[in-house]
């Protein structure tokens, strides 16, 4: 009977975490480039109940009793969000798989693993120009420098109006100068990973490579200009999940209450 309380409690705790994840998704329904997460459950720890009689003949019987539900994973789903036109020349979006690469402003000196922690991956291509004494550089909304295929910061020409900047599907930035000649500026880097789900979420829409994300490969997506990728959160799906989570929470609470009442009954056998 005590075990029933803990089993029921595992359901309550799990659904609370589930609702946390759903709430976070809903809060980010308007965050450009946001990738939704999903909470998955697994059953756990089956123990064999005491066998009443040894079976004299016939197959061994199933006496495995479960002890609740725990978290299996909080998966991040990298499905693409819809692309919305903005008309802004420095708005980019990736149509397909892949990430933009930006420089990591804070590097952890004590890290000793194999992953490259100097770069971060982002999907939000709402870029800006950052002017300092070294020139005009392309940065993301958090001020992180966007990197080209050489790993260098992308410097933009200061003499040319930005409206003339063009971007090809594979990320080549260029413009047509006054003589009508196409001048190349830089090649934006698009990368992908064997296991993007293994990337670490460092906040502010950025992901970092870890030992679990596997090899970095070339991204297969195409870059489009003057568009932004919306959040891939589907509000209807999150609302449905929330309703199911609430009902599951209620059920688990009912189970805990009933177990408690049963314990009360046992306690009052003899006043």
């Amino acid at each position: 009977m005590i075990q029933t309380l803990y089993t029921g409690a595992s359901g309550l705790i799990g659904q609370q975490k589930n609702i946390d994840v759903i709430a976070n998704n809903v809060a980010n329904v308007n965050t450009d480039g946001y990738k939704k997460t999903r909470f998955d459950f697994q059953d756990c720890l089956y123990v064999t109940m005491r066998a009443p009689h040894p079976a004299s003949n016939g197959p061994e019987k199933n006496l495995q009793r479960g002890n609740g539900a725990i978290e299996l994973q909080t998966a991040r789903i990298f499905l693409g969000g819809s692309l919305t036109d903005t008309g802004r020349v420095l708005d980019f979006a990736i149509d397909g798989n892949g990430f933009f690469v930006v420089e990591n402003p804070t590097v952890d000196e004590s890290y000793e693993g194999d992953a490259d922690q100097s770069i971060l991956m982002v999907r939000n291509g709402n870029f800006h120009i950052s002017n300092d004494e070294e020139g005009a550089f392309l940065v993301d909304p958090q001020g992180r420098y966007v990197l080209d295929t050489e790993g260098e910061r992308i410097a933009l020409p200061t003499s040319v109006p930005m409206e003339r900047l063009l971007c090809s599907g594979d990320g080549l930035l260029s413009y047509v100068n006054d003589e009508g000649v196409l001048v190349e500026v830089a090649q934006m880097q698009i990368v992908d990973f064997v296991n993007p789900g293994g990337l670490a979420d460092v906040g502010n829409g950025a992901f970092m490579q870890t030992d679990n994300s596997g090899e970095m490969t070339e991204g297969t997506g195409k870059i489009v200009q003057r568009k932004l990728e919306a959040s891939n959160v589907d509000y209807a799906e999150e609302a449905t999940r929330l309703i199911r989570a609430q009902r599951a929470y209620q059920l688990a609470a009912r189970a805990v209450t009933t177990a408690d009442q049963m314990m009360g009954i046992a306690n009052s056998i003899r006043q």
């Binding site: 075990q3 029933t4 089993t7 029921g8 595992s10 359901g11 799990g14 659904q15 999903r38 998955d40 459950f41 697994q42 059953d43 756990c44 720890l45 089956y46 109940m49 009443p52 009689h53 197959p59 061994e60 019987k61 199933n62 006496l63 495995q64 009793r65 479960g66 002890n67 609740g68 539900a69 299996l72 994973q73 998966a75 789903i77 499905l79 798989n97 992908d192 064997v194 296991n195 993007p196 293994g198 030992d211 679990n212 596997g214 490969t217 297969t220 989570a245 009902r247 599951a248 059920l251 009912r254 189970a255 009933t258 177990a259 049963m262 009954i265 046992a266 009052s268 056998i269 003899r270």
Partner: protein, 284 residues
């Protein structure tokens, strides 16, 4: 002392076990691929009651059979199809039909440390790999590990017809017959198995099943059959929900509670009777 006391006691015990199983079903109502359990109880074997000290009868005779309670017999897992929920996530697979995915399971065995090592504040338990065995699952929410193999979220390799499946990317397609294609090439075919009697499956946690016993009565290995083609399909972008029926579990919970309650009342009555026998009958 009073047989009825023990009979009611066995019923209370059995109902509390049943409550455990129902609660486990309830908290797993959102677990992908979970199959609900039912506790089956059985009566104890009947005893024959014999007549003692009856002067009207010359021979030792039987009155009739008498039953002394119930006990838990087994837990039956219901392998009915759960609802298919569309997620559009390419790493989510669901089986429609009677079949299971096969995964390679390596148990982690704790390395024994003596009391001195355990007392050390920096002691961290170490694990070593045990013998690899196969387990079965319906939960199709898979991942790709760092080397590109298709794995479960716990890291167990999903088996294809030729062993582990190396997809190399999360951008792969799975055909309804289980063929996995990545980058335009066929990289494997999912191994799906079916059991002649699903009753041999035992839940082992982590959404996995083991087979017990591994051999039948004659010591022959149990048949694991390949499913007939037309009846089983693999759907990519879908997950199979839990087949727990919340309404049914709630009703079972109410039944169990009332059965527990009424047996408690019986116990109380026996207790009162005994109380009278002990305290009142021989009162001077």
């Amino acid at each position: 002392m009073l047989r009825g006391l023990y009979t009611a006691g066995t019923a209370m015990l059995a109902q509390s076990r049943r409550m455990d199983v129902i609660t486990n079903n309830i908290v797993n109502v959102e677990t992908t691929g979970y199959k609900s359990d039912t506790l089956v109880t059985q009566s104890f074997r009947d005893m024959m009651i014999s007549r003692l000290n009856d002067p009207s009868v010359y021979e030792y005779s039987y009155v009739g059979p008498h039953n002394t309670g119930i006990h838990i017999d087994t837990i039956k897992t219901h392998f009915t199809q759960g609802p298919l929920l569309e997620t559009q996530h390419p790493l989510d697979l669901a089986i429609e039909g009677d079949a299971f995915f096969v995964v390679e399971y390596t148990p982690q065995i704790l390395v024994e440390a003596d009391a001195e090592e355990r007392a050390d504040p920096d002691y961290e338990p170490e694990y070593e790999d045990g013998e690899t065995e196969y387990r079965y699952t319906r939960t199709g929410s898979f991942n790709v590990d760092a080397e590109g193999y298709l794995v479960t979220p716990d890291g167990y390799y999903v088996q294809g017809q030729d062993g582990r499946i190396l997809v190399g990317t999360t951008d792969f397609t799975v055909a309804p017959d289980g063929t996995v294609t990545a980058g335009g090439e066929e990289v494997g075919q999912l191994r799906l198995v079916r059991f002649e009697d699903n009753g041999v499956l035992r839940k082992a946690g982590e959404n996995l099943y083991t087979v017990s016993p591994l051999t039948d009565e004659d010591g022959e290995p149990l048949d694991i059959l390949e499913p007939e083609d037309a009846t089983v399909t693999v759907k990519q972008g879908y997950l199979e929900g839990s087949n727990v029926d919340a309404a049914r579990e709630t009703v079972k919970m109410m039944e169990t509670y009332r059965a527990y309650e009424i047996n408690q009342k019986i116990l109380r009555i026996f207790d009162d009777s005994l109380g009278r026998a002990v305290n009142d009958i021989a009162r001077i």
